[in-house]
Every structure is written in structure tokens, then in C-alpha cells.
């Protein structure tokens, strides 16, 4: 149990995908103008991350890793080079299916974060999560926890940044710094704060 919690905290805080690995930065900067938008997008990323990482773990484990095709008489087949394209395909297909299902059964939910779903496909945090999972060779259970943790951490980070940016809207900053420049400096400071989580030991 404590190992699970450890992995969750590690994925969410100390190894925050946005602030420690800079993943999903484009969306992170683009969608963090208001807390409302940031929250919707954060929930979308969390949902997709929680499902797509374990899904990719299964695909990697049963289809792509060396020796996965031994039962077909192909023990030497190593398809791991196809990992990238397979993961991207899985994520894109999954997002598309999710969008259709939401549209059909939960129209309210679909209206709330439907616009963000297609954007998530090209979000590097999602692909990055799956690639980290493959690189660290997580098991199915671990990859589920890792997906949930990293998605949660990303959502928290974007909501934090959006809250700060809302308050900075009326600040009197130098002309050239307004907009992106200031946002980068703020993200730097938030990231500095997250560095403080490094070295936390859970009891």
C-alpha cells in the first residue's frame, strides 16, 4: 500500500510532468488563462492519462516487447521500435472513442470539456507518460497508479498557474514582459516550489 502511495506522490509531485519534465507545455501555457478552462482541461488530461497509460502498458507488454510473438513461432520478433507509433495511435483512437461516448451518453459532460479532448491528443504529457511507463518498465498496476498520479499532478499544476495568472492580469509589468514572458517566469517560480517536494519521505 505504501509503495502505491509513494508512486502516486512521486508521479504527482516530485516528478510532476509539467514542472519537472516540461511535458505538455504548449497546452499548459495556452489553456491556463482562467481557472475554469484550466480545470476542465486538467480533468480531461487526468481522465485520459489514467486510462491510456495502462492501456499502452498492455499493448507494449503483449504485442511489442521482444518475444511477445513467441506463441506464433516468432521468438526473435522485436517490435519495440514500433512503440512510438503504436502509442500515438492508441491515444488518438482512445480520445476519439471517448469523445463519441461522452457525446452520446453524457452530453453535459461532453459540452463541458469536449473542446479540450482533441487537443489532448497532441499533448506531450500524455505520450510522455506512456513513454516513461515503457522506459521504467512498470507493471500493469504500477502503470495505472503512475497514470493517475501524473495526470493528477498535471491538473493541479495547471490550475495553480491559472489562478496566479488570473491575479496577474491587472499587474503593472514592463511592456515586453507582458503575456508569455511573465508566464514563463511565474512557471519557473511554481516549479521552484515543487522542487521542495524532492526528498519527501512518506511514513
Amino acid at each position: 500500500m505504501s509503495e502505491t502511495l509513494d508512486l502516486f506522490v512521486q508521479a504527482a509531485l516530485t516528478e510532476n510532468l509539467a514542472l519537472a519534465f516540461f511535458l505538455g507545455m504548449c497546452m499548459f501555457l495556452a489553456v491556463s488563462k482562467t481557472v475554469e478552462m484550466a480545470f476542465g482541461f486538467g480533468v480531461a488530461v487526468f481522465t485520459i492519462q489514467t486510462i491510456s497509460v495502462p492501456l499502452n502498458q498492455l499493448i507494449g507488454h503483449f504485442l511489442l516487447q521482444p518475444g511477445a510473438w513467441a506463441w506464433l513461432g516468432l521468438p526473435d520478433a522485436d517490435l519495440s521500435f514500433l512503440r512510438l507509433i503504436a502509442f500515438v495511435g492508441v491515444i488518438a483512437a482512445f480520445v476519439q472513442i471517448l469523445e463519441m461516448v461522452l457525446d452520446r451518453y453524457f452530453p453535459a459532460l461532453s459540452a463541458a470539456f469536449g473542446v479540450y479532448l482533441p487537443l489532448v491528443t497532441v499533448n506531450c504529457a500524455i505520450l510522455g507518460g506512456s513513454l516513461f511507463m515503457a522506459e521504467r518498465q512498470y507493471s500493469f498496476a504500477e502503470s495505472f497508479v503512475y497514470g493517475a498520479g501524473s495526470g493528477f499532478g498535471w491538473a493541479v499544476a495547471i490550475c495553480l498557474l491559472a489562478a496566479i495568472r488570473e491575479r496577474l492580469e491587472y499587474s503593472d509589468s514592463p511592456e515586453g514582459l507582458r503575456g508569455m514572458g511573465l508566464t514563463f517566469l511565474v512557471v519557473g517560480i511554481v516549479s521552484l516550489a515543487f522542487l521542495g517536494f524532492v526528498g519527501i519521505e512518506l511514513p
Partner: protein, 227 residues
């Protein structure tokens, strides 16, 4: 932003400073921040991105009249992903150490918004030659930012460039105390933030002096084209 009437030289040179993908369009910053801890990784990363960018731009530009609009995204992603796999395999074969350091970030070139952005906005509407020029320009624009940030971070963080010691460290009897923060993630945000600040201020000042000489009112472009 780029019109078909633009001469080829401008197509090549504009993205390097004036339309720089990172500082002005704020595209593809993920990898720009992540791989700039040392100059060597920044160098390999920018070379890979430029190669993929040129390859995908030309390929997509060649395909542009045969692809129905409704499936263009998936085609673009497939083209890019294929090229990235090639680059990844080449790196693993010839630069094993560096490819370890870059870890997942080579794979993440697929989702680098610069590449998809250029494919969407430029290659889909322009012939292969112009697309290749545009890709090279954007690649160079991306490269110099990466090399700049990577150089500063490695020089101040460990007193070396490309692994060669430049500044004598205190622990080796020199005078330079390395700034450990430079090796941590936040410093990349600060450096890029300051860089954007400088470039935006410069372009604002240029716009102002031009509008003064033309005796026209100040352009209301103080806000940034955030995406």
C-alpha cells in the same frame, strides 16, 4: 502570417528571429526546456528536430493535394511519427549515450507543436521547395534558442561547454562556484522567460520607431499573441 508572395529569402530568414517558433509563436517549448541541461543534448535535439521538420514538411507538401481535409491530421501524425522512429533508431545506433540522456524526449518530437504547426499552416498550402526553406528556417530558429539556453545552463551550472571545462571550478582550485540551480528545471523557465522579454521588447521598440518615422499612431500590439 506567411503569404505566398513572400520572397524565398524571407521564407527562410523570418522564422529565425522575427517569427521565431519558440519565443514569438511559443510552440515546441516542451523539448526546448527539457533537453537544455547540457549543450550536447541541446545540439542533438535541435539537429533531430530540424531533420524531422524538413522531412515532414517536404513529405506533407508533396501529399498536400491528395489528402482529404478530414483525415489530414492523422496523415500528418503518421508521417511525423515515422520520421521520428527513423531518427530515434539512428540515434540509438550511433549515439547510444546521448540517446540515453535524451530518454523519452526524442519520441516526444512527434508531439512537438512546431512540426505539426508548420505542417498545418505552411506545408499544406505551399510547394515542397518553399516548405523545405520554411522548415529549415524554423529549425534554425529553434536551434539557436536551444543552443543559447543549453550553453548558458551548462556554462553556469557546471562551468563547462560540451563537457570541456571553461571556467575553473572552486573545487579544482579555480574561482568559479557553479550555480546548482542552473541544472534544475526552474532555471530553464527563467532563461526562456527573460529571452522572450528581451526579444519582445526589441520588437516593440522597432515597431515604435517605425511608426514614429511613418508618423502613424502606435500599433496596439502590446498584448502578446498567446496561444
Amino acid at each position: 502570417m506567411t503569404t505566398p508572395s513572400l520572397p524565398p529569402v524571407r521564407v527562410l530568414l523570418d522564422p529565425i528571429v522575427r517569427e521565431n517558433p519558440i519565443t514569438l509563436q511559443v510552440l515546441g517549448v516542451c523539448s526546448a526546456l527539457a533537453v537544455t541541461r547540457t549543450l550536447a543534448t541541446a545540439l542533438v535535439m535541435s539537429a533531430s528536430v530540424t531533420a524531422v521538420l524538413i522531412g515532414s514538411s517536404v513529405a506533407i507538401s508533396l501529399l498536400r493535394n491528395d489528402v482529404p481535409r478530414s483525415v489530414r491530421l492523422i496523415i500528418e501524425i503518421t508521417v511525423i511519427a515515422t520520421l521520428v522512429i527513423v531518427v530515434d533508431q539512428v540515434l540509438q545506433a550511433f549515439f547510444w549515450e546521448l540517446s540515453r540522456d535524451l530518454s523519452v524526449f526524442v519520441g516526444l518530437i512527434i508531439t512537438n507543436c512546431v512540426i505539426l504547426g508548420r505542417a498545418e499552416t505552411f506545408s499544406m498550402h505551399n510547394p515542397p521547395g518553399r516548405s523545405a526553406l520554411d522548415a529549415l528556417g524554423n529549425g534554425l530558429g529553434y536551434t539557436w534558442i536551444l543552443l543559447g539556453v543549453g550553453g548558458i545552463r551548462e556554462l553556469l551550472g557546471s562551468g563547462a561547454l560540451l563537457g570541456q571545462p571553461i571556467l575553473p571550478l572552486v573545487e579544482d582550485g579555480g574561482w568559479f562556484q557553479p550555480i546548482a540551480l542552473m541544472l534544475r528545471p526552474p532555471s530553464a523557465f527563467f532563461l526562456i522567460g527573460v529571452l522572450i522579454w528581451c526579444l519582445r521588447s526589441a520588437s516593440l521598440a522597432r515597431a515604435r520607431s517605425r511608426s514614429l518615422t511613418a508618423n502613424a499612431p502606435l500599433p496596439a500590439s502590446t498584448g502578446s499573441p498567446t496561444r
